[in-house]
Every structure is written in C-alpha cells, then in structure tokens.
Symmetry: C2
Subunit: 329 residues, 2 copies
Amino acid sequence: MTFKYNSVYINAVSTITGPYESKGPLSKYYDKSYDDLYFGTKTWEQAETKLIEESVDSLLTKIGKTKFDINLLISGDLLNQIVASNYAASSLGIPFLGIYSACASSIEGLIIGANMIEANQIKNCVCSVSSHNNAAEKQFRYPIEYGGPKRKTATFTSTGSASAYLTYNKKGIKIESATVGIVNDNGIKDIFHTGAIMAPAAADTIYRHLNDMKREVGYYDLILTGDLGMIGKEILKEYIEVEYGIKLNNYDDAACMIYDINSQPVYAGASGSACLPLVAYGYIFSKMKKKELHRILLVGTGALMSPTMVNQKLSIPGIAHAISLEVVE
Amino acid sequence: MTFKYNSVYINAVSTITGPYESKGPLSKYYDKSYDDLYFGTKTWEQAETKLIEESVDSLLTKIGKTKFDINLLISGDLLNQIVASNYAASSLGIPFLGIYSACASSIEGLIIGANMIEANQIKNCVCSVSSHNNAAEKQFRYPIEYGGPKRKTATFTSTGSASAYLTYNKKGIKIESATVGIVNDNGIKDIFHTGAIMAPAAADTIYRHLNDMKREVGYYDLILTGDLGMIGKEILKEYIEVEYGIKLNNYDDAACMIYDINSQPVYAGASGSACLPLVAYGYIFSKMKKKELHRILLVGTGALMSPTMVNQKLSIPGIAHAISLEVVE
C-alpha cells in the first residue's frame, strides 16, 4: 500500500538524546543531550517518558504553539504497552493515537499523520517516538548488570526521543509518498541478529515502493534504513540485488551513523525506535536544507520481537515502512 | 479531535470467542466459539494469534475476497509488543499498521481505517482486535494457577477476536463520526479497579464528542462503553452528570452484557480489547439491522496499565475513543 501526498510538510523537528549518542559523530545535530540515563527521574522507564515529554515541549517551543494548538499526538516506543508514550500523552493532554511497529514506529506515525493532513482531516499533528538503551535491554534481552558478552551481530539500543510537527504549510521538508510494510518472517530466532530479521522486510518494502511509484532506485539521493547495523546493511544490499535485481548504491543505514562504531561499545551499530529519526531529523535534514540531498527515502525497520514468543521458540518477524521526503524549494 | 465521515461503511464483521463467552447470554451472535483456551495451539499467546488469523479468514470468506484484495490490516491486542497482531499479520501477509490503546484499540483501528477510506486513500481495510483471558491474566496480574481471590471491582478479560471490513460501499453500518481520546490520569493505582480508571476518560470523550458534533445525548439510541464493568458503569453515570451535566439514560456497558454476571465467575464483568466489538458486532449490529437501534455511539475504554509502572507505584492512565455508527437505510 503506497500513499501519495501533495500537501504535507514536516515544518519542524526536535531531538533529544542520552550520553552515548552525544559522544557519537552526529552530536552537534541534536537539540539536547543528557549526561546520564535517568534525566532526573528514578527509573529508566520514567526517564524514557520524560524524553518524549521534553521532545514534544521543545518542538512546541520551536513552533511557538501550546498543546491546545495541536490536533493530534501519534507516538510509539519499545516498552511493553508503549508505556513511555502513554504516560507522556497523559501529561501532554493532546488527543492521542498509540502505535507499535517496533523500531519502524517513527515511520508508521508519520504515515498515519500525513494521511490525515493530506485529507484535511486534521490541521496539524505531532509524531513522536522514543527508545532507551537500558529500559530496552532489561525488557528484551538481559539486565545490564548481568554483563553478558554479545555477538558481533548485536546492536546497541539508542537512547532518545524525536518529534516532528506536520502541517499543510509549505515549509521545511515535504512528505511526498509512503509505503506501508508487510510483516515478514524468515525463520530467524536469534535476538542478537535483528539486522538479518529485518533486511528482507526492508527489501520488500523498498521494492514495492519503487514499483508502486514507478521509480528507479536512482530517483533518490539517499535511501536510509533505520537500524539494520553493519552486518544487516550488507545483508540487505546482497538480498535486494539477488531477489529483486536492485542495486542500492545511494544507500546507508542510520544504525551505522549515530555512533563511532570503532571506538564506542555498540557492536554492529545502533537500534531502537529513536535511531532513524535522530539521524534523519538532525544530520540528514541539515543536508537537505543545504540542498546537498534533495530526495530521500526513509525506511523504518522493526524486529517484532517478543521475549514471550522467543521463549516459546518462535522465529521473530520483521516489518519495514518507507516514507519519501523532499526539500521544499 | 472529532472526525466526520460521509462514505465509510462496515460492510461485514466476524467474531470468534473462547468458552466463557459462548456460555454467556450473547452466544448465538458469535460466528464461532472454542470449547477450550488453546484452540489447538501449545500456548495462550499462540492461541490468541490464531484467534485473529481465524477471524480475518472468516471475514474474507464472508465477503468473498482473498488477502490480496485487502489494502490494509490494522490490528492491536493486549499482549506485550501486540504480539498476537504481529504474528497474525505475518501469516496473513497484508500491509499492516499495529496500534495500541489497550481495550480501546478496536475503536482506534476503526478511526484510522475510516479516515483513510473517507479520503479515498485506501479502498478497503480490515480492522481486527483480540484478547485472551489467560494470556492477559498471566501478563498483567497473576498466573491463573496462583488462584488468588479478587475484589468485586475486578473484571474478567474476555477471550476472542473481532474483525470488521470497511469500504465506501454503502452497505451495512455507516461510520458517521469519531472522537479521539485524551489520556487521563486520575491517580488510581489499583489494577483491580480499571472501571474507575477509565470512567473519567470515557466521560471526557463522550462530552467532547457531543460538544464537537453539537448533539444532545438523546441523539443516540444507545451509548455503549467498552469494559467499565458493573461498578465502573455506575461511576461513569455519576461522574458525567456531576462534571458535565450529562444524564446517560440510553447507556450500557459491553462488559456487563457479554457474561451472565450472576452465574459466571466474572466479578464486575468483562474486559479486554475483544469485549466491546464482540458485543457490538454481534448483538448490537443485529438490533441495528432489525432497526431496533438506529444511531449508536461506541466508546472504547482502555486502562493503559503496565506491570512495570505499577511496580514503580505510578498511577494508571485511561483513554477512551468514540465512534458513531448508523444503520444504512
């Protein structure tokens, strides 16, 4: 399912991160970074809630609006019951739709919001997303204190929240089209190899997007996946060439950009719902504003991993949603 | 945020339940009911996945279509990472948007789908939802085997899945308008009193809906909330009269209808994402088709409860989404 848009723009964005991200190469592109992982709260989950609240507050300040001016908040995160989003929505008091596509949630939110603005059903919305390294590790893998070694295919969940303000005001970045993902299960059960889990879903979504829009891959100056990591990125490039005959030359993966892979302890790179929008809303959008990039395709990638189902020996399905963005001339 | 629709219809629905529901007073309105809680699978979570798969398959059979004819699947459930929906989406292979509003998820799904059909962005969609008593009890409260007694305010999570087929074909039930909920936290921490948690959110949404649509409560032949239960229902009636001056005469709660409260061990009634659509799509829609009811307002109610946050002594926020339905003449 591919949607086309004529009148939806990302007018403003906000990003806020934890300490690992601010030590990475894109640090100057974030609005704010914390030096620890608690941000003045008592728990990692409450810290993640605070990240969303602050990223929305920061966005509202940038655009000079209050919560009463916002028609809709769409948000998701990795915590059980998307609890960071729920509690942030509770303190923000904006009409709220909760979503979940794991680390593809940022793009799912943009798609739902863009559709409603395109149809003039809402005048504006805020699309948020968050992830928190320790909250995610504790929930999905092992407690941090366990200190277990990991394989090289493992990724490091990014800590941060990113929010986007969408309206029909022709300003900023245009949302041009979007493709909704189909869940794909290729039989992988390894929670430390999410790149391999998500790569076929990303390939399918990129292929369907190009096909639906009757485009060659060269139409885009950059195709940027969310969090495949160093190994998953190579799997995607090989898989999409073999399966669909697509050569991804103009391609990168946000997981390989947010940290210094050589000096930071992040294994194959980043992951988490925040990874893609942190890289896109800061670094990539700044290149777009400088007209170094004109057309990009963001491909949010999600491993629909559940510890319950992993314990039941089921394989882990993946999903990918894509959104095409252009600079407004 | 209230949306108005001119061209969205629920053409067909399907319902499938577990054994407790089929022993209740509305048993003849379900398409299919199982006698146990495993449905031929090995675990409750896999059983819940199967419920969604079967309810979508049954819906496709009713409308004479295959998965390739469906533009979009929107689904949510109560399991961590909405895993029943994810795995069902994986086996169904339809472009998928995952959502989470706890037990208000059915209405969130209808709203997102209705907006896209109204705008002609999709031609059709399937909106599904599920809940499973034992899977939910194990995850949110105590293992069933623990056998702990509960207070009278507790509710019994319904087991079932319900799916709706939405198109612009003027047939069946018209979706007329909808109001997106605002998350409300009234300080309650009691996981066995979700009715009290959700009642203020329901009151706020009903009030905003009537206000936005410039309607009196008497416009509707029935206002039906999702799963407040016997006690929560009375709280809503009193709260909405005191706070908003609204007298809910034409009102009922699906949680009080799905079981025989006197003979079945369900405490204050039902709960779960499936509760409202199981009652609405079967019993209520049959009354609409017989023209005994013309206009109804379904109010999905969700307690955004997370065991993690409950353990951190935080209060539990509630949300309610409303959708207005009419019989097509």
